[in-house]
């Protein structure tokens, strides 16, 4: 559950988005700029977080009045191996070392629902964490490492499957379906696509992150829509958005069917006027943005 340290919405002095050049980072930076917030976006070119030298560099860049958003990570589509895990941990180790010496006003960490693993079908913030892969363990480890920074109010956002126009990841779901539809006029489903998942539009994650910044929220929150949709339906929606027939192909299933739902009550309580896009609308917006770019 989130607690708001600000009684009312308040624009921050500056937001430093570490990992601002990735898909989600870009969504966040765009949203903050739309709101006329002063933003410093840092990608790996500006600060190589894997290197020890990033500690001093971050120390010099950060001001005590800054809000820091941390999104940098080697995502599973790039690598799931031990080396990626170690690098991801190193990034947060260096951030922690920098923040030990350089106080900031607020820290927001973009974690993942991978910390819950696949054993629970209905997930809330009270669901015990049970990561089942290095990616999940990595996010959980990072959360714990950042929790050592007790002097900095910290919000942890556990984000579920994100999609949107600028998404370079090709994980199974809206992004891959869009890409394969455009390239091959075909969507491959695992089995009949029965699995239910919650997909959130990237710009909606940015809205929630912005609200956390403005309210100076701290604590833990799952970032999801609360509406799970079967992959088959996702495929149909994607196909419906494109011109021409798309072949939705079923393939033999290699894993048992699992479902994932989110109880987003705490998110609704934290931000009572939150309006998130449903999948159909999010896909429509994705399509519009793809065409614009």
């Amino acid at each position: 559950m989130l607690n708001h340290l600000n009684c009312a919405s308040e624009k921050p002095n500056r937001v430093v988005v570490v990992g601002g050049t990735g898909f989600l980072g870009k969504c966040v930076v765009k949203k903050l700029i739309e709101e006329n917030v002063k933003v410093m976006s840092l990608g790996s070119k500006e600060v190589d977080l894997v290197s020890q030298s990033s500690v001093d560099l971050l120390g010099k860049l950060l001001k005590s009045s800054d809000t820091v958003m941390f999104l940098s990570a080697i995502t599973p589509d790039k690598s799931r191996d031990i080396a990626a895990f170690i690098k991801n941990i190193l990034m947060v180790k260096h951030l922690c070392e920098a923040l030990k010496n350089a106080e900031v006003a607020h820290l927001i960490y973009f974690s993942s629902d991978a910390v819950y693993g696949q054993t629970q079908s209905l997930i809330s913030e009270d669901t015990p964490v049970a990561p089942q892969d290095l990616y999940g363990v990595m996010h959980l480890s990072r959360e714990l490492m950042l929790s050592e920074l007790t002097h900095i109010p910290t919000a942890i956002l556990r984000i579920t499957a994100v999609y949107g126009a600028g998404d370079t990841h090709t994980s199974y779901g809206p992004n891959r379906f869009l890409k394969s539809s455009l390239q091959n006029k075909r969507i491959d489903l695992f089995g009949c696509g029965e699995e239910l998942r919650d997909h959130i539009y990237g710009d909606d994650v940015a809205v929630i992150a912005k609200l956390c910044v403005y309210m100076r929220s701290c604590g833990l929150i799952n970032v999801a829509t609360g509406e799970s949709v079967a992959f088959k339906r996702v495929a149909e929606l994607v196909a419906g958005k494109l011109n021409g027939p798309i072949n939705i192909q079923q393939t033999p299933r290699s894993n048992p069917i699992t479902h994932k739902h989110f109880d987003t009550t705490n998110l609704l309580k934290a931000f009572p006027c939150l309006c998130l896009n449903d999948l159909e609308n999010g896909l429509r917006l994705t399509q519009i943005h793809k065409q614009e770019n």
Binding site: S124, L268, P272, C275
Partner: protein, 423 residues
């Protein structure tokens, strides 16, 4: 045998209702509370609690009841029930300081032969620690149900009495008083009686949790829980009085306290409390059903929606708002404009900055986009859905407890949502 004089220490919901019911059974009753203002109000016939029949019975039996703030008056009593509120902390754990203090005061103020009975709910182990040499002490399980407290006090199903030794006969005086209620008396050791009370509540919680779990499923798969319930009640293993009505989790404070007590004992003794923890989680989940629905059907589309709310009390016929789902909802939509009406509870209890104190049910419907009925007060079912529809700007009614007739609502164009069935 001369009828014993019965004392009640602590003019709480439990103490007052129990005292008045003893007077109704033709006993002389002395009701003590150290709070002078409370006693003054009671002597003027002003009750701070709301229960069906209670006002009438206080008036009817006023010649038999002495309300006093002088503890020395308890000296006249042959039996004294000690019934303070046992507060719970934020974690649901009982704070026993009050009952400790009142029990000591009562022991000191009464004669050696006076029977002392602990009536408030206490955790297992409490009563035995209070035993005093030369004094007679019992623990009597209370089964107060808010909204039906008088009825249950006058016509108990049974008495469960905790004794220092279950093989020992009850005090003759005490037995003669209990006999006036004409119900079975179950005698057992203190610890069993203390745990019996929690066991009753745990069984109720288990039924409610099962009902809530299945009702939620009904909402998703097109079944109607109200069609299933009669089939369950005709099963002798489940029974016609079983708690199968779906609700918004567990409220009121008492059942929650028992869940916490069992969970804490289980943690301490290393016994399994998985079921208890699941019940707590399910209760929290179902409590927020109206909030999730409200967002889904209206706030998501219209963040400036005005919400009408009927009911603040945690259930009908009570003024208690302890763990009230209505208060939880209003807290969660703290920046939404709301029009609130409750027949008993004041809107000052509402944690909402944009709250209009409605004068009536229909006033709470005026120009609202959605009506949420959070407490099923009997009078709500008498309001004509046609009038509701006329007053509202929108047409959505969220009525978890079926205070209104679903068909009548739909017939006048209202979009009606309730627990246990898909819209």
């Amino acid at each position: 045998m001369i009828k014993p004089i019965i004392g009640f220490a602590g003019m709480t919901h439990l103490g007052l209702v129990s005292g008045v019911s003893a007077a109704e059974k033709k006993f002389q009753v002395i009701c003590f509370d150290a709070d002078r203002d409370k006693v003054k109000a009671l002597n003027q016939g002003i009750l701070t609690i709301s229960e069906p029949q209670l006002n009438e019975l206080v008036f009817k039996n006023k010649s038999q009841i002495l309300f006093t703030d002088d503890v020395a008056d308890l000296k006249k009593c042959d039996i004294v029930y000690v019934a303070p509120d046992v507060a719970t902390d934020d974690f649901g754990k009982s704070d026993l300081a009050n009952i400790d203090a009142l029990l000591n005061l009562t022991f000191d103020a009464t004669r050696n032969e006076t029977v002392i009975v602990v009536l408030s709910q206490v955790p297992p182990g409490f009563t035995r620690r209070q035993v005093r040499t030369g004094r007679t002490l019992y623990y009597q399980v209370e089964t107060l149900v808010f909204g039906r407290a008088v009825e249950r006090a006058l016509y108990p199903e049974r008495y469960i009495i905790g004794c220092i030794d279950s093989g020992q006969a009850l005090s003759v005086t005490y037995e003669s008083f209990l006999a006036a209620y004409d119900c079975p008396i179950l005698k057992m050791r203190y610890e069993s009686a203390e745990l019996a009370k929690i066991s009753i509540n745990m069984c109720l919680v288990a039924s409610v949790s099962a009902a809530n779990t299945l009702a939620e499923l009904c909402e998703k798969i097109g079944a109607d829980w109200s069609e299933i319930v009669p089939a369950l009640k005709l099963d002798k293993r489940i029974g016609q009085y079983s708690y199968l009505t779906p609700g918004l989790g567990i409220a009121g404070g008492n059942l929650e306290r028992d869940l916490v007590t069992i969970r804490n004992f289980a943690d301490e003794f290393g016994t399994d409390a998985g079921v208890v923890k699941s019940c707590i989680a399910n209760s929290n989940h179902r409590r927020d059903w109206p909030l999730r629905l409200l967002h889904k059907v209206i706030i998501k589309k219209n963040t400036k929606a005005i919400v009408g709310v009927w009911g603040l009390a945690y259930k009908q016929n009570t003024d208690s708002i302890k763990n009230s789902p209505s208060i939880a909802l209003l807290k969660a939509i703290y920046n939404t404009h709301v029009r609130v009406f409750d027949p008993v509870v004041s809107v000052t209890a509402v944690p909402n900055r944009y709250c209009h104190d409605a004068a009536s049910e229909l006033d709470a419907c005026m120009e609202v986009d959605v009506l949420v009925i959070m407490t099923p007060w009997p009078q709500f079912s008498k309001v004509n859905p046609k009038e509701i529809a006329k007053m509202m700007k929108g047409n959505i009614v969220i009525d978890p407890f079926k205070a209104l007739d679903a068909k009548a609502c739909r017939d006048v164009g209202l979009v009606y949502f309730t627990l246990g069935v898909a819209n």
